[in-house]
Symmetry: C2
Subunit: 658 residues, 2 copies
């Protein structure tokens, strides 16, 4: 059926149509999926893989590969068909198992599930924004390691939906500031989204908008024109100072009877439509028909382009200096732990220090111990105490800068951090805890991909004070704690801050959030850095008979200890447990958990945050000294009193119930 | 000290400086706040209030007032000083109590706390985006009510931070599509944000970006030039087809020794600086010095401009037709309940219907019963079943359209809904539950302001199926339930869907979220619409001795009922409780709660979502049949089995533990 013609463009067309037919067969077999992008954007992805991407399907994790992010994650069928044809370890059986249980071809691309998939996508805008992180990582690593051993391009395929999302705007704006010329976004511009045509929702002049943000803009007016696509990508690669957006005008669901309409987006073609599309494509109407010629020709193009470059890169790698080699090893390992050397601080015993200040010192130590540690704040570094001193700001002129000035762009910050981590760096992202809401969708992506991103959230409760309820988190802690794979730490003082960071950096995978306060609290004699990894430990043992247990975290630990001391004087013997991480504690052996919490002992919890985190630790919610309403604007001390979170109120409440 | 000069511009300058001095006095007294914007943007807010805003300080809730949104909420001191001077019910004592407990002058503007404050702001970008909602409401109401009885402008003061946030981009893009010419944004462009100058973060060409989005753009190059500001606002008001952005070049912290730098942003001036600023302003260095002349002249300008217009409006109101008058009454009340008349559906007893489908029918009934009910989806109306049939799409050409095509802009959708509600409408906003993360910061604003926004979230658990983990919510329900003031409903079938909506519309205040499934489930004989308002009720009574209780919500209720039926056959007598709303149930009298849950009876909970919602209902978390990991891409049935959420697994687990 398939014959290689004389004209290269003919071959191109045949392979593109092969991708189309495989894609719609997958969707038809799964009885769900998105044929619109498969039929519309096949020429784009084909041109990219056949003629540009520096990849090696036999070495899918090659550290210097060009990255490809399918930001329009619902185009998974098209991506899998392409990866299959390109020679990645994906079989025709895998394509047939599209969207079925335990297949390597799930409904949306999943990182680490499918070879060749550089990140999980699906929630729109995330891919675009994380690609900006990959592009930043490339610039940073190109300069961290010698000989341009890292020197790749990051490509994105995105749709109208991606560009409507605020996160992609934020990321694009920053990419423009940073002049990330190795970032090339292919915009599948089909003027249709799920519900309707974009003339009712999205009428921007994309060229002007991206040009205004410092981007290079290229238009390919006919999305079927492989030569034009090819030229556009060549032009983009030649651009030295700016990221490039290539707007490709395509027709959604091309060849389907619904082509060009919203109906073509997300419903499998009906039988008749499938048949007539196959006819137009000149491909047998037998599901999963594959042309050997198409496979051979596609893979030939990739090999011809990449082989020598790949071998040359291996040679370059062998001749790398020791330091660069070591760093490259780490990157190639992908996941690695960082054993932080001991920190020591000289501080007076009566030092009062906020945990954010303590964190600031520790971050600056970590920076000295790990070259892959970098990050930034959403315009709050000064308040988050998260600036890495003497490390400079990352910019085109200072590519070794390790402070990324994200601007007031929390959401993009989260997604960019994911991109940095996907390349092997250990990024941090910081803002106020209450604004963790702004980047939650990106945190979820960290968690889904199990990436070692460190989130630093300061200003952690109603104790923020005067800035008032819009700035005082209440429900954010439980939102983070309930996110699978994310470990949350809320340290009480400098000892626990150190312990939290040590625990976090020992982890090879998975995101962490550290929750810090802005108020000066005493350093506790009883807190221990080494105990944090267990999630909870006894900081004050009862003397004699145990009357009750007080659990506390963060700034509230000092209240718990004060209360226990005062209650002791009144004849009540209480045990105080610090629980910087519920998630860690839950992973401890049952025996340890029971040792800390003997059955039938009354347990009180003090945390200036939603009760929901703590119901499982108490028999009755009356034992929870927590905050379930919005805060208020006033001095910290006044607020704590009003919310019955001051020492006096705590003592009173515990005495009532003992 | 203050003397009215001959030149009006001199008077202007004097009043502007009066605002400045009051603002910095407030911050100095509170020992916290943001002097940068007070000193930099005073001429902007002055020009607006003195020469343009159609407001009546004696009738701050006047329904046809021009709206003013201080999107840069940290400029609260400037706003309060302006409102004081304009004659709102704010005393000098109130200004002195800035940021202190129970004052009406909190750290960031709070809706319903301070007369003249049209919305709570602080989290950047929210104000800008909600203003778009206010502007949409104006267009809608102008056409819903006769005689242009609603015919106001919406003004925004925003800063660099607002414009960097993705939410403001989303909202601006939509405002451009909709051609909201009564929306006028004043952009305090000072090139400085908290951490640094914007040349390292925000280098966009704002003119080109906004023009590309269909906005009218005007530049005022000298932010001290009242005449130029005045002319720019006049020009903006004359624009008939587009929203306007007026970029005003200002100097942050003007007159301070730190002027023009990030240091001027968020720290009170030191004593010496305060003193020299006062000198430059030519105002006595006695805190809270107020010039009578300034007050008189400011209020004279407002009265001269507004008085006749306001009186004329009252006359117009008296002569309004009955229907318009009724509607206006409702709007003027501000909060009102909507008693939905009975719905009745003919459906066969064995009907299988998804709750999203049931919801779609009910929404279309509500539409017929309430003209103020309107809303939209973030490009998922087709999947959310939230399209109001025969009501058309809202647009410039169809201002009575009640479907707002938000595009893929969840965050702006939430904030715009807040704006609609602030004017008195009853908006809904819909998307997939997993994407509620994208708009959580806006949901929080609904909750903080206690606005009756209805959030419709479909595709509510791992049962989404093939789309996989990026599309399957796990932690979203607890994130919503833990948000103060927000009531969450997860109905089990059409009966409970009806009951949920009835309960929601009877509420005068406060946001609600309804959580819906995409899978066909049986209509239960035992569910009752009328019971939903209690939050929980018995759907299946035990027979004889009570062995245990099963609580379930949403799609899982049918699993619970099936399991109870089958366990009954095996000799176990179980009570089944449906709990569509935990928050409602918690508000019920203790007796009712204890009637449903007798002490010492084993309680099991079935909900395909995070355990955290349910710990307080069980003695041991082993009794929770919930989901605490990310989902997967597969058929629904396969997933439910894998996660032990199918009937067989549930029966097995309960039997083991009884």
């Amino acid at each position: 059926m398939f014959q290689l013609g004389k004209q290269p463009t003919n071959n191109d067309k045949k392979i593109v149509d092969q991708l189309r037919s495989l894609g719609i067969d997958m969707i038809d077999t799964a009885k769900s999926g998105h044929p619109g992008i498969v039929l519309g954007a096949a020429p784009i992805i084909y041109t990219l893989y056949a003629k540009h991407l520096m990849i090696n399907p036999k070495d899918p994790n090659w550290i210097n590969r060009d990255r490809f992010v399918m930001s329009a994650g619902h185009g998974s069928a098209l991506l899998y068909a392409t990866l299959f044809l390109a020679g990645y370890k994906i079989t025709l059986e895998d394509l047939k198992a599209f969207r079925s249980m335990d297949s390597i071809t799930p409904g949306h691309p999943e990182y680490k599930t499918t070879p060749g998939v550089d990140m999980s996508t699906g929630p729109l805008g995330q891919g675009f924004a994380s690609a900006v992180g990959m592009a930043i990582a490339e610039v940073y690593l190109k300069n961290q390691l010698k000989k341009k051993i890292i020197d790749y391009h990051t490509y994105v395929l995105c749709g109208d939906g991606d560009l409507m999302e605020g996160i992609s705007y934020e990321a694009a704006s920053l990419a423009g500031v940073l002049g990330l010329n190795h970032l090339i976004v292919l915009y599948d511009s089909n003027h249709v989204s799920l519900d309707a045509e974009t003339n009712v929702t999205f009428t921007e002049n994309i060229k002007d908008r991206f040009t205004a943000m410092g981007w290079n803009y290229i238009n390919v007016s006919d999305g079927e024109d492989i030569e034009a696509l090819n030229r556009a990508i060549d032009q983009a690669k030649a651009e030295e100072n700016k990221p490039t957006l290539i707007e490709v005008n395509t027709i959604i669901g091309k060849y389907s009877k619904n082509q060009g309409t919203a109906k073509a987006h997300g419903t499998p073609l009906d039988e008749e439509d499938l048949k007539q599309v196959k006819e137009k494509l000149d491909i047998w109407d037998i599901p999963f028909t594959v042309s050997n010629d198409a496979v051979t020709e596609f893979q030939r193009q990739i090999e011809e382009r990449v082989d020598a470059y790949y071998k040359n890169w291996q040679t370059k790698k062998e001749n790398l200096d020791e330091e660069s080699k070591e760093k490259l090893d780490l990157l190639e390992k992908g996941t690695y732990e960082i054993k932080l050397k001991d920190f020591s601080y000289d501080f007076p015993e009566d030092l009062m220090e906020s945990t954010r200040d303590a964190s600031g010192k520790v971050l600056n130590e970590i920076k000295n111990q790990c070259d892959f540690f970098l990050g930034g704040s959403a315009d709050l570094a000064t308040s988050n105490k998260s600036y890495l001193k003497e490390s400079g700001d990352f910019s085109k002129d200072n590519p070794m800068g390790r402070n990324i000035r994200y601007g007031v762009r929390e959401h993009a910050m989260g997604a960019i951090s994911n991109g940095l981590a996907l390349v092997g760096l250990r990024p941090f992202a910081s803002t106020f805890l209450v604004f963790s809401d702004y980047l939650k969708p990106a945190i979820r992506m960290s968690a889904l991909m199990n990436l070692p991103v460190l989130y630093i959230f300061t200003h952690d409760s109603i104790s923020v004070g005067e800035d008032g309820p819009t700035h005082q988190p209440v429900e954010q802690l439980i939102a983070l704690r309930s996110t699978p794979n994310l470990e949350v730490f809320r340290p009480a003082d400098v000892n626990e801050v150190i312990g939290s960071y040590k625990t976090i950096f020992r982890k090879k995978e998975g995101p962490s959030a550290i929750i810090l306060g802005r108020n000066k609290v005493p350093i506790q004699n009883e807190t221990k850095a080494s105990e944090v990894e267990k999630g909870a430990y006894i900081v004050r043992m009862e003397e004699g008979q145990l009357h009750g247990i007080i659990v506390a975290t963060g700034e509230e630990l000092s209240i718990a200890i004060d209360a226990a001391t005062r209650l002791k004087e009144q004849g009540y013997s209480l045990r105080v447990i610090s629980m910087p991480s519920i998630e860690r504690f839950r992973k401890e052996p049952k025996e340890y958990q029971e040792e800390l919490f003997p059955m039938t002992v009354k347990t009180f919890v003090i945390e200036a945050s939603s009760s929901y985190s703590w119901h499982s630790f108490v028999y009755n919610e009356r034992y929870l000294i927590t905050v379930n309403n919005f805060g208020m604007s006033a001095k910290r001390e006044d607020i704590m009193k009003r919310y019955h979170m001051d020492v006096e109120s705590v003592i009173k409440k515990i005495k009532e119930m003992l």
